[in-house]
């Protein structure tokens, strides 16, 4: 049977790993290549590298990081942050990324998703949805959560599925960095509406939060801080999920 994936995420800025609280107050915490290797050796089902400075600053450092990481990690590698064009996607794939996650560009120009999924296959196109609660629904934000768009998150998710996205990485901007758990309603709403897999993201502070994410319909759960600062190892997380009858690869 298909197992639920645990995906540690490394936020990378200028080639170094950082993890922010609500995307501000960054703390330096290491070399991404070494971190990724520790995660893959520890049983991570996939590794996500997110270039968080990418939308605004020089991002060539990420290519080198991806290239080095992909030579050491033999589990899927997803890379996102500041991906603007089909050419950017091509470059990341050539550096060794297995999937590319696209956020701002997918909102600004959805055709990038259509074109890239046709060119490279849906299997490597992940659309990152950064959503914030607004009354009864959720609104899409871009540029690392800084810019509001007025676009409804659910409608956008359905459109991206139609355009060929292979997966959706759903991040709650209200929860990200708070360690208070995923936005469960958001995960439920989107995962029950689309037929492609959902990766839940934003807000994990405990192992129970991972359980909640899967129980809400996510195929995979992404977390950064709880793994990064050593609160839990990947293996501990998997054992905990298994103890809650959630199928994981151990």
């Amino acid at each position: 049977m298909l197992k639920n994936r645990i995906i540690p995420c490394l936020d990378v800025k200028d080639g170094r790993v950082v993890k922010g609280i609500n995307f501000i107050n960054l703390k330096d915490a290491g070399d991404p290549v070494e971190q990724a290797k520790i995660y893959s050796d520890g049983g991570a089902d996939e590794i996500c590298l997110l270039d968080i400075s990418a939308s605004n600053e020089n991002r060539d450092t990420i290519y080198e990081v991806v290239e080095k990481t992909s030579k050491k990690c033999f589990v899927p590698l997803t890379v996102g942050g500041g991906v603007r064009s089909v050419e950017d996607i091509n470059k990341l794939l050539n550096c060794g990324a297995d999937k590319v996650s696209i956020n701002t560009a997918a909102v600004k120009n959805p055709k990038v998703i259509l074109e890239s999924s046709r060119k490279f296959g849906s299997q490597c196109i992940v659309v990152a949805i950064d959503a914030k609660k607004s009354k009864k629904s959720w609104e899409i934000f871009t540029h690392g959560g800084k810019i509001s768009t007025g676009i409804d998150a659910l409608e956008f998710a359905l459109e991206m599925e139609k355009f060929g996205a292979g997966e959706l990485l759903v991040t709650s901007m209200d929860k990200d960095g708070t360690q208070s758990g995923y936005d469960i309603d958001l995960v439920k709403k989107i995962s029950s509406s689309v037929n492609i897999p959902i990766i839940a993201s934003g807000g994990v502070g405990s192992l129970d939060h991972l359980v909640d994410g899967i129980k809400s319909g996510a195929s995979a759960v992404l977390a950064a801080s709880i793994f990064h600062y050593g609160s839990y190892s990947i293996n501990e997380a998997k054992k905990y999920l298994a103890s809650k009858n959630i199928p994981v690869r151990i």
């Binding site: 049977m1 033999f74 590698l77 490279f120 299997q123 490597c124």
Partner: protein, 208 residues
């Protein structure tokens, strides 16, 4: 020994290259090319494939003489060939992704969409799933039954002759995930992304 990974401009093959380079010892020469002469002089061929069945077949046919050269290598000369993902699917007679497309016809059968049972099973089938080994295969040496492999696909290869199937995986039904027919090997999963156990399969293929 020369192992050639066929580079036919279809999808991302850097992970395949990285994994073979990581496994290959000094005696193994890994080449990445679509040069027909280099393919002919290889001892083993790896045929990767990402994207749709149609786009992969189109890309293969775009390189003049490539399909014939691969056929000569695998069918006439019976030298070892490993197809990965769509690389395996292309062995079939026909594929139904995007539009009906003729395959290489090396192993009789078709490639059709996985039955999602009305959305109960999400597609693509992405992630780690266990393989049920149904026959002894040379590339499974040292691989335990029920090992986890990494999958990402929405279409499945359905061979006419079930004797070629070496492993299946459960996702809405029993999906063929590995085949062995004489010198022809194929995996629907990605050994290059299946951690140490996947690298073992690559090692087994190199050491055939």
């Amino acid at each position: 020994m020369k192992v050639t990974i066929v580079d036919y401009n279809s999808g991302n093959i850097s992970s395949v290259i990285n994994s073979f380079n990581a496994v290959a010892g000094k005696k193994v020469n890994i080449k990445i090319t679509s040069d027909l002469n280099k393919i002919k002089s290889s001892d083993k061929i790896v045929l990767p494939g990402q994207g749709s069945f149609k786009s992969c077949i189109d890309s293969l046919r775009n390189i003049s003489g490539l399909v014939e050269t691969l056929g000569e290598f695998a069918i006439s000369n019976k030298k070892p060939l490993l197809g990965i993902c769509v690389g395996l699917q292309m062995f079939a007679d026909i594929g139904y992704e995007e539009t009906e497309t003729k395959g290489l016809g090396w192993i009789a059968g078709k490639v059709s969409k996985i039955n999602s049972l009305s959305g109960k099973f999400k597609l693509p089938h992405i992630g780690w799933n266990q393989i049920n080994i149904v026959k002894k295969s040379k590339i499974f040496k040292g691989i335990e039954n029920n090992s986890h492999m990494y999958f990402v696909h929405s279409y499945e290869f359905i061979p006419n002759d079930t004797n070629v199937i070496s492993a299946t995986t459960n996702y809405s039904s029993k999906i063929v995930c590995s085949i062995e027919k004489e010198n022809i090997f194929g995996t629907q999963f990605h050994p290059e992304k299946s951690d140490k156990i996947g690298l073992k399969i690559i090692d087994n293929f190199i050491n055939l």
